[in-house]
């Protein structure tokens, strides 16, 4: 019998011919990622127990992205320590403040490749599933352990397959598809499981669009969130990957725990209401919601294509006088692309605040948090109470287009009327 993508990768990484769901394996990790919140902790945990070497410095990627540029003396001190730590361990793959968000930068720099097993000290590490990698988040102690040993235990997960059929309407994006799936199947449908997104809609989706869905795979509880690596993946990685890239997918006769089908034809823009990403409604049922701040950014939706789509709505228009629009490009590459193609100018002329590539206010740690009683709309991944600022604020999740249209109207708005 054939294997799913998760089974193939865990079998290869644990030196077995096949594995089956439920088995425990010890697997060799191809890439270990740590950022400014997780890497220093993991390093200090190892030093505290007298371990001063790591198994494979070349497999470790470190990036400073959560609080950039440093907002406090403590941030600056942590970032300084990180520079010392990477040099002490001999880590070559280090991206300092300003390069962008880990989950935008790792794919851009060719670290996230089809068939690789990747762990990261961040829950949204599932993002690299969009390129056919088995990737998941872990905590500080396990990050330390993985760095030291180069291996980690895994339980082989069952896989749920989502078949995406039909054709996306104008102005409808992969974010809307993901929110729709969240609303229909809830935040724990994929608890302890892997998911594979497939079907005509998945094939037609850009790599940027796929990354949005794999990123939010963790909001469904998923361990890994795959797309098959196809010709688009190969084209995306050309010039980025240090090694040749080949298509990679599940066996045709792989066995799934469940297969769910969604026909996206005629689907409206979707919005997640406070305070959970699975509290989803089509935009026509959201009602009149005043918006104080609209945020386009985060590892979910701040890639070149996301900013372009937002700009197509905002071109020649102005942000509503009572509303703030904050745009944070996902990486230096996105910032350069968006400068070159005129998107930054369109956003600035519309009245947007534009900040340094990084995580921004998404996790509540950096620039642009919400105050008490404020409503925000963001193309981020989580709208938990108090995550993006005050516990008395309310955050709505939507696509970059919907966030842009809402910035224009100062209330949650359907972007389709603004499409060129």
């Amino acid at each position: 019998m054939g294997m799913t993508m998760a089974e193939k990768i865990l079998a290869r990484a644990s030196g077995r011919r096949t594995v089956r769901p439920g088995e425990f394996v010890t697997a060799e990790i191809d890439v270990i990622m740590g950022h400014d919140r997780s890497f220093p902790k993991a390093y200090e945990y190892l030093m505290n127990i007298g371990i001063e070497r790591v198994a494979h410095p070349d497999r470790i990627v470190v990036i400073t992205d959560h609080r950039v540029p440093a907002m406090t003396v403590l941030d600056a001190e942590i970032q300084k320590r990180i520079r010392g730590y990477v040099s002490k361990l001999g880590i070559r793959h280090f991206y300092d403040a300003g390069e962008g968000i880990c989950h935008t930068v790792l794919p851009e720099k060719g670290h996230a490749l089809p068939g690789r097993l990747i762990v990261g000290g961040d829950s949204h590490t599932t993002t690299y599933g969009a390129l056919g990698a088995a990737s998941c988040g872990l905590g500080f102690s396990e990050l330390a352990y993985a760095m030291c040993k180069g291996q980690l235990w895994f339980q082989v997960p069952e896989t749920i397959r989502f078949e995406l059929r039909g054709k996306l309407g104008k102005g409808i994006t992969s974010k809307d598809v993901m929110l729709r799936l969240m609303g229909e199947h809830t935040a724990e449908v994929a608890q302890y499981k892997a998911v594979e997104f497939g079907g005509a809609v998945a094939s037609a989706m850009s790599v940027d669009g796929r990354m949005t869905m794999s990123n939010m795979g963790v909001e469904m509880g998923a361990k890994f969130a795959f797309f098959a690596a196809d010709e688009k993946t190969v084209a995306y990685l050309r010039g980025r990957s240090p090694e040749p890239v080949r298509p990679f997918g599940p066996d045709a006769d792989a066995s799934y725990l469940a297969v769910h089908t969604l026909d996206v034809t005629g689907m409206e823009p979707q919005v997640a209401l406070p305070h959970n990403p699975d509290h989803v409604k089509p935009i026509s049922q959201v009602g009149e919601i005043r918006i104080d701040q609209a945020f386009i950014g985060s590892c979910t939706n701040s890639r070149t294509e996301d900013l372009e789509r937002a700009a197509s709505i905002l071109k020649g228009r102005k942000v509503h006088p009572g509303t703030r629009l904050l745009v944070i490009p996902g990486s230096r590459e996105v910032l350069i692309n968006s400068t070159r193609n005129g998107v930054i100018q369109i956003l600035a002329e519309a009245g947007a605040m534009i900040a340094t590539p990084g995580c921004g206010p998404c996790g509540g740690g950096s620039t642009g948090v919400l105050g008490p009683g404020e409503n925000g709309i963001a193309c981020t991944n989580r709208n938990f109470k108090g995550r993006m600022g005050s516990t008395e604020s309310f955050n709505y999740l939507a696509s970059p287009e919907t966030v842009a249209a809402s910035a224009i109207e100062g209330r949650i708005a359907d972007p389709r009327k603004y499409l060129p």
Partner: protein, 169 residues
Amino acid sequence: MPIRIKGRVWKFGPDINTDYMAPSFSQNLDWEEMQKTILHIHPRFPREHRPGDVIVADANFGCGSSRESAPANLKRMGIGCVVAESFGRIFFRNSIAIAFPVLICKGVAQAFEEGDELELDFNGSRVRNLTRGTELAGHPLPADLIHIVESGGILELLRQEGASAAPRA
């Protein structure tokens, strides 16, 4: 050494995420003040919890962020264990890694009221409601994972291995 935990129950609903256990808005407060923000979603828990209390929760406890400070904060404030219908997988792994007892147990949310006395037999994956005299079987953990918790966590295991844990030059 088998792990047995007894304590007074605080109840939580579904989808309690790790941001609620380690809020970014309170990360720079001192521990006394920060404790009052942990699980702020509950009207009384932040101010009335006592060391030795335990948590019973509905599905998906610990969903969201990978921050290990979530289970670490609960452990540091003296919470004995969490028994839930299901857990966010990273929270679950982090809890095992730092030796904080967690048990998946179907039916637990119905079986306990706030304030009931709970007894957990971690090694046997069983939970008793001492107030009501009922008992439930949880999802058994593999022996290797029980060993991690009994040993004090994966870093403690690495420390015990000492030099042999460190990779060769």
